[in-house]
């Protein structure tokens, strides 16, 4: 099993990588920070990974994505699963007033992620097999005042993945978007995390790992978000507008 993880230093990605390490997989970890990549690599090797390599790359940089993805595949001698797990939350309030900030949220979470998703899907199509799991968000299911710029990017990404899944229907490659609910990661540190609906990165990672094998094209993590978002999506506007969510 050869696995490429884009955004490998995120909490959800690291928890997912540990599941693969336990299975004795070969892993390629891609992110910006070399020191963090090396710390994670050492840990994964101790936890049982047969191979763990790193590639330092600013994934938000749109130049040479296809060539770099081919280089990643060559670096671990092929690929079976690809996990795309990077993103930024941004700051909704200032981003509504500052187009540059809004553009950055969209560029990282949608434009760059879409480009990597297309590059990865292209590689899987050539192979005729393999899985791509993209981390989306429940924020993409219905625009809410708290985070609709981030949500718009994740909605776009989910639509892209759904379209790819449609294109690959009945063929070898699989493409899945996993939409976590609120998760206890550095990204959500400024949130008040009271309430029972917060998930751990490990809970989300279990869904991501399973998604690479079966199910989709849209999965929620944990699963109960599927039903929560079903309700939220179908709330009439006059009720939705009175809710502070």
């Amino acid at each position: 099993m050869r696995v490429i993880i884009l955004g490998a230093t995120s909490a959800i990605a690291e928890a997912t990588a540990r599941l693969y390490a336990k299975e004795g997989a070969d892993l390629l970890l891609v992110a910006r920070r070399e020191d963090r990549l090396l710390a994670i690599r050492d840990d994964l090797l101790i936890r049982g990974a047969a191979k763990a390599e790193v590639a330092v790359r600013d994934l938000a940089d749109p130049h040479g994505i296809e060539a770099d993805f081919a280089r990643f595949v060559a670096q671990i001698g092929g690929v079976d699963h690809i996990i795309l797990a990077y993103g930024i939350l941004g700051d909704q309030g200032p981003a509504e007033r500052d187009p540059a900030q809004a553009e950055e949220i969209l560029r990282i979470n949608f434009n760059s992620a879409a480009a990597w998703t297309l590059a990865a899907a292209g590689a899987l199509e050539k192979l005729g097999r393999g899985s791509l799991v993209v981390i989306g968000s429940v924020a993409g299911d219905r625009g809410r005042r708290a985070n609709f710029i981030y949500g718009a990017a994740k909605a776009g990404l989910a639509t892209l993945v759904e379209g790819l899944a449609h294109r690959f229907a009945g063929q070898g490659p699989r493409v899945v978007v996993v939409k976590p609910g609120p998760t206890i990661t550095p990204m959500t540190e400024s949130f008040n995390r009271k309430g029972a609906l917060w998930a751990t990165p490990e809970q989300v990672a279990a869904v991501v790992r399973r998604a690479a094998d079966r199910g989709g094209p849209v999965l929620y993590a944990p699963w109960h978000w599927r039903f929560i978002m079903l309700i939220i999506r179908h709330l009439p506007t006059f009720i939705f507008n009175r809710m502070n969510i």
Binding site: D35, R36, I46, R47, G48, P186, E189
Partner: protein, 445 residues
């Protein structure tokens, strides 16, 4: 970026003390100096905490700040040939076990729960069923990282001339943040244990079996029926074992049921304790003899029931663990069991074990040669506290000591008399570090 946030519900395992603390949970070691600087600037004290399996107040810092180290849980280097493992302080024994077993190794020392962190194991210098041969976990630590509030990160070894290593092992987190630990692992051919269960009829029976077992068995422990009186006083079950040389190296990969919420008080009255003790006694007697059992159930029977501490209800529980020197062991243990039986507050679990003469490396390490008794009591307020006071008197008289990680009400005078190296320890306490336990001890000084 990692920050402190006011957090309720960060409890120790005993669940008696409930105070709000500012908690930060960093995921990278590079975040630690910034958190310490923030505390220094704000004039608040800090305490690094692990998996919160200490029962009392040594892992709490109410009204101040704590750094939850469980996010710093990466392995750093494992060298099976040299038999050394180095990992970040937040890595748990639960995570280490499958890694070690895969290459035919095991933890050198493990407490009765595998859900402890490495940093916590060092800060409390934990012991296990193999103390009579292996000593404490600290005996196996080869090197550790310690970050002090002045921003200096020390790399300490057992031969450290400054004394900071000896202060940090068993030092209850008061000397700084233990950032990583390198320790020696032991060979183990399988994830199975060859065990023997032997019932004994009274306290003399315990001491006889303990003496007879220690040469041939790496692991020994006994369970005592706290409600037995008269000629049966101290009756119980002796369990002894060693690693099975061959067999599966895989741990059963499943977690048991969890106690979903705090039980109402009446769930654990004297009657149900009596029923439990009788059942446990009977069940073990039925299974007396030799058996090959999975290592997880031999070492961690209570881990099978997650959140078992919730059965003690909203008011929580006290665990009380003492050690008394060999010369006083029989008399003091007998007196404690008589006191408990007379009080009718039957302990749910009473664990009895003899500690060997291997010297603990820490200035404040709890284990010393002698006999240790560990008891659980539901918190019934003043009744429970006065029973513990009576037990204190016996321990004091016997020249024994209590385990700070356990009861959360350890009297300062008994702490001082039990730990003669306390004066030497105090020089090494980081000025920015404190805990609820430490303030309680200092207030009385």
């Amino acid at each position: 970026m990692t920050r402190f946030a006011p957090t309720e519900g960060v409890l120790s395992w005993g669940r008696v003390i409930r105070e709000t603390q500012d908690v930060a949970r960093p995921l990278w070691r590079e975040d630690l100096p910034g958190l310490l600087r923030e505390d220094t600037a704000a004039g608040r004290s800090c305490l690094a905490i692990g998996a919160r399996r200490s029962y009392g107040d040594s892992g709490l810092n109410g009204g101040q700040t704590v750094i939850d180290m469980t996010g710093l849980d990466r392995g750093i280097a494992f060298d099976p040939a040299r038999r050394t493992m180095r990992a970040e302080a937040g890595m748990t024994f639960d995570a280490l076990l499958p890694i070690l077993l895969r290459s035919g190794h095991f933890l050198p020392v493990t407490p009765g729960t595998r859900f402890v962190t490495l940093g916590g194991a060092v800060a409390n210098d934990v012991h296990g069923k193999n103390h009579h041969g292996a000593g404490t976990f600290g005996c196996w630590v080869r090197r550790l990282g310690l970050l002090r509030s002045d921003g200096v990160e020390w790399e300490l070894t057992p031969d450290d001339p400054t004394g900071l290593f000896a202060a940090t092992v068993g030092g209850l987190g008061l000397t700084g943040i233990i950032t990583w630990v390198e320790f020696e692992v032991i060979p183990a051919g399988s994830a199975l244990m060859d065990t023997e269960t032997v019932p004994f009829d009274d306290l003399d029976g315990f001491f006889a079996i303990a003496a007879e077992s220690e040469a041939g068995f790496d692991y020994t422990v006994a369970w005592v029926d706290c409600l037995a009186t008269g000629a049966s006083l101290g009756r119980g079950i002796f369990s002894r074992g060693r690693h099975a040389p061959t067999g599966t190296r895989l741990l059963a990969d499943k977690t048991g049921p969890a106690v979903p919420f705090e039980f109402p008080e009446l769930a654990l009255n004297g009657l149900s304790v009596r029923a439990f003790n009788t059942l446990y006694n009977w069940r073990s007697r039925m299974k007396a003899g030799k058996a090959v059992v999975p290592a997880l159930s031999f070492f961690y029977p209570l881990d099978a029931l997650r959140h078992w501490n919730r059965i003690y209800g909203r008011r929580g529980m006290y665990q009380y663990q003492s050690v008394v020197p060999p010369s006083a062991a029989r008399e003091a243990t007998r007196a404690m069991l008589q006191t408990i039986a007379a009080a009718g507050q039957g302990s749910f679990l009473a664990v009895l074990k003899t500690f060997g003469d291997r010297v603990s490396p820490g200035l404040l390490s709890f284990p010393r040669e002698g006999t240790t008794l560990a008891l659980d009591f539901p918190n019934r307020g003043s009744d429970t506290l006065s029973l513990l006071d009576r037990l204190d008197a016996i321990v004091r008289e016997a020249g024994g000591r209590l385990y700070p990680a356990k009861d959360g009400r350890l009297p300062p005078d008994l702490f001082r008399s039990g730990y003669p190296a306390l004066g030497a320890f105090e020089h090494h306490v980081d000025p920015q570090f404190s805990s609820r336990f430490w303030r309680r001890m200092q207030a009385a000084a």
